[in-house]
Each structure stands twice: as C-alpha cells, then as structure tokens.
C-alpha cells in the first residue's frame, strides 16, 4: 500500500470469527464432540446425520461457553435468544439447513480493545451467536480416475460459535492483533483450543476501501480461506491494494466473496452478488426460545477468571517488565501459576521474568509433560527467595529447578544438599589467587583488554567451587586481584 493511497482512502474492515467450542458432546446430540483422532463417520448418530424424524436438543455447555465469551467481550446477554434455520443446499449439510441464530443471538453489543504499536483501538462486537458445524468434504480422485467427494460426518453438529465484529478495524495489523488477542482470550476462558491449523478458529474478513471524505457505502468484499494470522494480514493488504487500485482507475468495487490463495499471494473471486444466497431464515420450530436467566448469567460471570488485560495491568503495576507480562498472559495455566508463586512470597517482577524465560524452558523440556505443573508454587517462591538473597546463583537456580522437576524435592533441601554457596572472603580469595596463578595467558589477555578473559577466569573459580560461589563476589575479587597486582 502506497502512502498516497493510504491517506486518500479509508479502509473499513470487519471480522467474522468461527470458533469450535470445547464441549463434551455435540451441539444438538449426545455424540462426543472430540473427534480429532477418530476414524471418519464414527462420531455420528441419527440426529447429526439428519435422519428423518429426529429432533435437536440444546447443549447447555455450549450455551454457557458462548455466554462466557460474550461476557469476556463485554457483551450484553439478552434474556431471550432463539435458534433459527438457515436454509441452503450443500452436500456437507446433513439437513440442508443449519441450525443457527439469526435475529436474537445469545450476546450483543460488546467491545474488544486491541493494541498495535502502543496505540489502542476499541473494536465493537456486534454479536456472538451459536450454531452447528457442517460435515467435512474431501475431494479425491477415485480408483477409476473419476473425481469423487468423501463426506466425514464427525464434524457435523459440533458446536460452533461465531463472533462478528463491527467494521471498526482500519489496518491489516489491527486485524492480526484482534485475531491473536481473541485467540488468547478464548484459550484463557477455556472455551476452545482456538487452533487455527485444525480449524478450531477460522477468520473471515469483510473489507472495503472508500475515498477519504466520502460516505461509507454498502458494498464490501468478503475474504475467506485464511489459515493463519499472517495469511489474514497478507490477504487484507492485498485487498487494500486491489480495491485502492480500482478506485484510482475509477472502476467500481463489486460485492463478492473472494478466497485467499496462499501460493499466489492473491485473493480470487468465488461468488458474486447474483449468486448470493437467500438463506430463508425462520425460527427453528423444534427448539423453544432460550430463556437466559439473570441467575445463570450472574453465575457464569462470577465464575469467569480475571481477564488477561486486568491481570497484565496488575503485574505491570507491580513492576514486572511489560514484554514479559505480555508473553506470560498468552498462557492461562502459566499465568495462574505465576500468580500463585507471587502469592507465596516472590516478587512480581522476578517471578514473571524468571518464569517466562527460565522456568518455561525447564517445563517444556520435561518429558511426558501433563497439563498440570508438578511443582507447588510455594517451592518456586522459596527458590526465587534464595536467589534474591544471593544464596543461589542464577546458574545454580536453573540446576536446582531441573533437579526439582526430576526428583520432586523441595528447593531448600536441594540447595542444602549441594552445600551453601561459598561467599566467605578468605576461602574465595585463596581460590581466585590459585586460578590467577595457573592461568597466566588469561591474565595477559585481561590486561590486553580482552573482556572474555575475565569470564574465563570466573568460570575456573566456579568450576572449582562447583557453582557454589556467589558470581558477583567472584567477579569483584578477581578484578581487584588483577588490578592490584
């Protein structure tokens, strides 16, 4: 996008995000919703196959997840919602209609703040509604060489939530930030894995470009098939370029659906307005309207965790570094763990930084890692305290942590067993002098101004003391010995 066109045109972007919900069973039947590793067509029943005479029954957990999401996105939860039938004929749709929500969704009128380069944009959330997913079609070539389509009904009837934003987004970067932050939020509140690569999170964009100063019209282009946030950003950048070009040449922008093609790096027209669907929505007569009681909403609100934005603000206020906090709050279990470590007495700044870098490295290195973190937070707090007092060096803290993971022993016990850190002046001085004596080349290098020589000499001291020396003390000792000699 050229700077000239950026100033001459306004970009209007709205996002529609489909989210597969993490529930026990499917949206309207008892089939297990977790079909990830199942053989095709094994998680099916007459209801999700759309057989004659069967009826849908609403999955309460999916409704709760949707309300949770709405609350996290600052939405209103109206007292009455209903399901509607969205009619279209396609082989991946078992009943040839999809049970969705049309004019009375579960959540409306929310907002979501997105940060790009330190600037915050408030994106309106039009609605969050609930529907059922379709089956999956795979197009293959049969043994006789003819094209064939295979249907896997496992996904049919899975709970799918759609989050529709207001057209408040102005740049591809904002769109990407919205997507990334939304993904983190969905994981945070536990309603979805939100993995884009397996389709649990799918983002479509509506985008239009208008001459600056002119009113924003109705025509917009829907862009689909973006499999990553990067693809989302690239597709939008491409569309801005394409639509701006058309405007500059005085060509009209057609209302259409375009698909993003990753290999060519371009969007391609899939369907124009003349072929636009008339979905013939009408209220689903098999399901009575949903009465969402205040008690239910209050209970869900009360049970929601504090939102990542709030937690981050708190930690930053307790002088944890912003970058580390931003990284930490991508991961809800690790954040909860960190908060527990702080609660147990560690300082916020140290805990956040050390956990994001040191602790996470060790945690990820664990073989057969389960969902739970095996070390009690209080143990990490005590290790951090030992480290803060200087009784454990940074290096040693890492080793102690590894041993804690390996043996399940308490931090203090491990440190004790290793013996206390040597910081007694006399003992250390003797060792430092010995090292200086035995390494004349390094001493010469130091005098020649080679900084790494000091590191080498320190390493020698640490080796002899088996890491139990206070590094700060060692560095000072060696330096003063070398200077005074």
């Amino acid at each position: 996008m050229t700077t000239a066109s950026a100033t001459a045109y306004r970009v209007v972007i709205g996002l529609e995000t489909h989210v597969q919900l993490r529930t026990q069973s499917k949206m309207f039947c008892g089939c297990a919703a977790d079909y990830a590793n199942a053989r095709p067509n094994t998680h099916v029943c007459p209801v999700c196959l759309g057989m004659p005479g069967v009826l849908p029954v609403i999955n309460r957990e999916a409704v709760d997840h949707t309300i949770r999401t709405g609350l996290a996105l600052n939405c209103e939860i109206p007292e009455y919602a209903k399901f509607d039938r969205k009619n279209y004929a396609y082989p991946d749709l078992m009943k040839w209609y999809q049970i969705s929500q049309y004019d009375l969704p579960l959540c409306i009128n929310g907002h979501f703040d997105v940060e790009v380069d330190g600037a915050t944009t408030r994106v309106g959330i039009t609605r969050v509604h609930l529907e059922e997913d379709t089956a999956r079609l795979t197009h293959v070539t049969a043994a006789d060489g003819a094209p064939a389509s295979l249907i896997d009904v496992n996904r049919s009837g899975s709970p799918l939530m759609e989050i529709v934003s207001e057209p408040d987004i102005r740049t591809p970067a904002e769109a990407m930030a919205y997507g990334e932050k939304l993904r983190a939020l969905l994981r945070w509140i536990g309603v979805s894995t939100a993995n884009m690569e397996d389709g649990a999170l799918r983002i479509d964009a509506n985008i239009s470009v208008w001459p600056q100063g002119e009113p924003i019209g109705d025509v917009k282009v829907e862009v689909k098939n973006m499999n990553s946030f990067r693809a989302l950003g690239r597709a939008l950048a491409f569309e801005i370029e394409r639509q701006t070009g058309r405007r500059e040449r005085g060509e009209a922008i057609e209302q259409e659906t375009r698909g993003w093609d990753e290999t060519s790096g371009a969007t391609r027209s899939q369907r124009t307005k003349e072929y636009a669907h008339d979905y013939r929505y009408f209220p689903e007569p098999d399901l009575p309207p949903l009465h969402v009681t205040r008690q239910r909403v209050d209970a869900l609100r009360a049970a929601l965790p504090r939102m990542p934005d709030q937690v981050a603000a708190d930690l930053i206020q307790q002088s944890a570094p912003e970058a580390d906090v931003a990284e930490l709050v991508q991961d809800r279990p690790l954040t909860d763990y960190t908060l527990a470590v702080i609660e147990a007495g560690a300082s916020a700044g140290e805990a956040v930084t050390w956990i994001v870098h040191e602790f996470r490295r060790a945690l990820n290195a664990q073989p057969n890692r389960g969902a739970a973190i095996p070390i009690p937070p209080a143990e990490i707090a005590s290790l951090l305290t030992l480290r803060a007092k200087g009784s454990v060096s940074s290096t040693m803290a890492g080793e102690v942590l590894d041993e804690m993971f390996a043996t399940g022993k308490a931090a203090e016990d491990i440190v004790q067993a290793r013996g206390p850190q040597i910081s007694g002046q006399d003992e250390l001085l003797a060792i430092a002098r010995l090292v200086i004596q035995e390494n004349p080349q390094a001493v010469q290098d130091y005098r020649d101004g080679k900084g790494r020589a000091l590191q080498f000499l320190m390493g020698q001291v640490m080796r002899i003391t088996r890491g139990k020396a206070n590094p700060k003390a060692v560095s000072e000792l060696i330096r003063s010995e070398l200077e005074s000699a």
Binding site: P52, G53, A89, K95, W96, D278, R280, F282, L287, P288
Partner: protein, 490 residues
C-alpha cells in the same frame, strides 16, 4: 367367537386377555386374517408386519402367563407410516423414502411397546402427511370402508380406514391441520389430537414441526383415553414436549358433566356447511345439554383466516423439513447421475409427488427474501390472534363444540385437480391446530350412509375434560343406527 375377535375395542380385548378368554396370538391372528381378507379393497396398510406381530403376541402371552401385565399387553395396534419403526420400512407414503429402514423407534412407538402392544404394521397416508383424502399416497389410495368409492380422509386415512374396517383395534395417526380428526369423522371412528407437546414428536417424521402432533384413532372414547395415558409425557429427546403431569385419563372418564359450559361459535356453522352435517352436530350438542351441560354462544372472529395462515406456516416449515431428502444417505438413489447436483435434482424430481412439490414451492416462496414479512411473519401474527380468540372464549366456556368437516366423505378423484377445494376440507380443524389445542372427533350420525363427526375442543392440557365430555356424549348417544359398511357387505 374367536374369528370375530377383530371387532373388539381395546378395552374389551384387554378384558378378554386378562380373563384368559383368548390369547394375544389368537387375537393377533384374527386381525391378520381380517387384514388379509379386506385390505386388498381398503388399502389401509403399506406394510403388514405379520411375523413381528405374532412374535410380539407370543411374547405378550408368555409374559401374561408369568403373571405380568401392561396397559396394552397383547393388544394389536397399527402405526401410521409417518412414525419411525426400528427395523421396519418407514416411508411416509413417499417414493423418496422407499426402502428406508430406520435404526430407531419413535418415542411413541417405544411407549406402545413398553406398554406391551403388538404392532401390526404401517398404515397408508397422504405423502408426508400432506393431504386430506389419502389420494396423495405415493403408493396407493386408501378407501373408505363405508363406501369404497369414497375417500377415507387424510392424511391419516390409512389409520382411520384400518380402525373402521376392523383391521386393527386402534391406530396411531398424526395431526398437523386435522389429519387425525378429519379422517376419523369421515370413517366414523374416534380421533383424538392432544395438546401440542403432550406426546413426544421424536421419531415422528416432520411435516410442519410447530403443528405436528401424534394422535390416536380408536373405536370408542375409552380406548382413546387408554392410549393417551400410555403415549403422553415429557421426552428429553423432544424439547417441545411438555413437562406437564399426566393425569389418569381413564379414571376420570365417566364423571358427571352437569354444569359443563359448551361454547358454540357461529363461525363454524356458516356458509359451506352441509345442512345435514350441521343438524347432526346440533343434535349432538342437544344430547350434551340433556346431560346437564349448558350452551353458550361464543365468537372466534379470526376463524376465516385459519386456512391462509396454515397454508403459509405449514408449507414454510415443510420446505425446510423436507430439504434433507436428497438421495445421499437413505431412500431412493440414482446411480445414473453424473454429479451431485444432478443426482439430488433427479431424486427430488422423481421421489416427491405433486402435492409435496407444490407445498415445498409455496413454503420456499413464503420464506424468500422480500416475501418473508408479507407472508411468514404476517401468518405468525394471525396465528397469535387465532390463539387469543380461543383464550378469550375459554374464559367463558369449558369446551367448544363444532363440526369436524363441512361435508361427509367425497368421491375419490373429486377434488384431486382442485387443491383449494381439497384444502377447504380442513377449515374446521385448522384453527385448533394453529392454537395447539387438544381436540377430538366423535361419531355423531350419518348423512347419505356416511359417518359425520362432532368436534370438541378444550383448553391446553385439558384432555381429561375433553375425554369426559366425549365419553358422556358417547354414552348418551348409544349405538348409532349405522348402515352396513361396504367392506362387510356381500
């Protein structure tokens, strides 16, 4: 005696089984023989499951011998082919479902089986329950046992004909706009459509979901109460089924109706009503007054809008409900088709009959963008007005009495080319369907040798009151001086 067991009512047969006068196998055989001898002329059944019935009967006899009982133990009943039956072909009388064998029973069927019933087979009907004469069956028409040139009514025409021709002791039907009451009236049997939601719709193949309700066709009111008691109740698999207590319908049946307030609306006795049918229904109301009931005139001003309202709402829902029949998973298939769109178009073109196609098109149109507000939304508003007509009326009366059908059964073919004339046949049953109210048809006389029915309508979930009034009338009426049924002549 054994060869005439098929003539019995459910409750009389139950007495015979309990006292050991005959066995369920004997009873079932008698009915299968009767079917064998008359159904070629009546066409009431699409599928007769003789072996299954005899197996169930033998099982019932064994259970009884070991001291067990059940409300319907050993009693043979027919099922409208709109009800899913596990392992038994279920077609809705449509070619598009030819060969479809569901892996599940409708909840109503499960309840019958749990009560010990023997299932004789699947009865004929208008395709997907769309029609008022049974001529829209995709397989064959059913005929009126009183006069084989006449229609039995529809859409539960096969069930009504089977009961009237003594080819079952009782039958299940479904009523969307009158599909139980109208054929019951035309065939001279008792037809009960309970409150919407009283009986689970799970496994009832949908025509118009907000109107469809399973009903029963029986030889008398006592049998209707007996069956309703078995079928009624909440079903977690049907979210629209009512979580209302199920009273002892049989126990309250023979109560006194002194003081019962009967509402009569002039809207049901106007133009188009055959005067002899009108006289018959009025005479029945007089009989009820003779039992101590009082008559009050009421007004149901939106009655005339019921027909257009129904013919927007029902086809709209049907257009979505019938979308799933595309030949991919069950029923007809088309190996000749070269791509999926062609296959689906050919299956639907070949598999659906003309009336079904007409209603799918009407419904698709009514829901289309630009027409939705003018048709569907307006029809829903009128439906609310029709409902509130009844609510107002029921502040002053306990039941409403009316004719069921404007005239007795008509000739086969008479209305086949005139859909609107056919639709008129339902004008007196549609309002109660749109309002979701419990209602019945009880035989109240004959006109030109053909049965006429009295319709009673009650407030939601007042089936006990409805049955009580119907039973009181039935007792007062006594045996009607009936002509010989054509099926029994010669």
């Amino acid at each position: 005696m054994a060869d005439e067991l098929y003539l019995l009512t459910l409750h009389a047969a139950a007495r015979g089984l309990r006292s050991g006068t005959f066995s369920s196998v004997e009873l079932t055989r008698s009915l299968l023989d009767r079917i064998e001898s008359v159904d070629g002329r009546v066409g009431a059944y699409l599928t007769v499951t003789a072996d299954l019935a005899l197996e169930q009967a033998a099982d019932a006899d064994t259970r009884r011998a070991s001291g067990r009982d059940g409300p319907l133990l050993g009693l043979p009943i027919a099922l409208k082919d709109v009800l899913s039956t596990a392992g038994v072909q279920t077609t809705c009388a449509s070619r598009i479902l030819e060969g479809f064998i569901p892996p599940y029973d409708a909840t109503a069927v499960t309840r019958l089986k749990n009560a010990g019933a023997v299932t004789l087979g699947k009865t004929n009907m208008d395709e997907f329950a769309m029609g008022s004469s049974n001529e829209h069956s995709g397989y064959k028409p059913a005929r009126n046992p009183w006069n084989l040139d006449k229609v039995p009514g529809g859409s539960s025409g096969g069930s009504a004909a089977a009961v009237a021709a003594d080819e079952c002791l009782a039958a299940l039907g479904s009523d969307t706009g009158g599909s139980v009451r109208q054929p019951a009236a035309l065939c001279g049997c008792v037809g009960l459509k309970p409150t919407y939601g009283r009986i689970s719709r799970f496994g009832l193949i949908a025509f118009a979901s907000s109107l469809d309700q399973i009903g029963v066709l029986t030889k008398d009111v006592t049998d209707a109460a007996l069956l309703l008691g078995v079928l009624a109740g909440h079903d977690p698999r049907d979210s629209t089924s009512a979580d209302e207590p199920v009273p002892e319908y049989g126990g309250e049946l023979n109560g006194d109706i002194g003081g019962l307030r009967i509402g009569v609306a002039p809207e049901y006795f106007g133009e188009g009503l055959d005067p002899q049918v009108g006289d018959s229904v009025r005479a029945a109301i007089d009989d009820l007054r003779g039992l101590g009931a009082t008559e009050r005139e009421i007004s149901l001003p939106h009655t005339e809008y019921a027909l257009p309202t129904y013919y927007v709402i029902a086809p709209s829902e049907a257009s979505a409900n019938l979308a799933r029949y595309n030949g991919v998973k069950y029923g007809l298939s088309d190996p000749q088709a070269t791509d999926v769109d062609e296959m689906m178009a050919r299956i639907r073109g070949r598999g659906f009959g003309s009336e079904v196609k007409r209603r799918i098109m009407i419904g698709t149109f009514a829901l289309s963008s630009g027409y939705y507000d003018a048709y569907y939304v307006r029809a829903q508003k009128v439906r609310t007005l029709i409902k509130s007509d009844f609510e107002t009326a029921f502040q002053d009366v306990d039941v409403i009495a009316a004719p069921v059908v404007p005239s007795p059964a008509f000739d086969l073919g008479a209305k086949l080319d005139d859909p609107v004339a056919m639709y008129q046949s339902d004008i007196m049953t549609l309002p109660a369907s749109l309002a979701g109210l419990p209602c019945m048809s009880i035989p109240c006389g004959f006109v030109d040798g053909l049965p006429v029915g009295l319709q009673l309508i009650a407030p939601p979930f007042a089936e006990s009151r409805l049955l009580q009034a119907a039973r009181a009338y039935e007792r007062a009426r006594g045996n009607l001086p009936a002509p010989l049924k054509a099926i029994d002549a010669a």
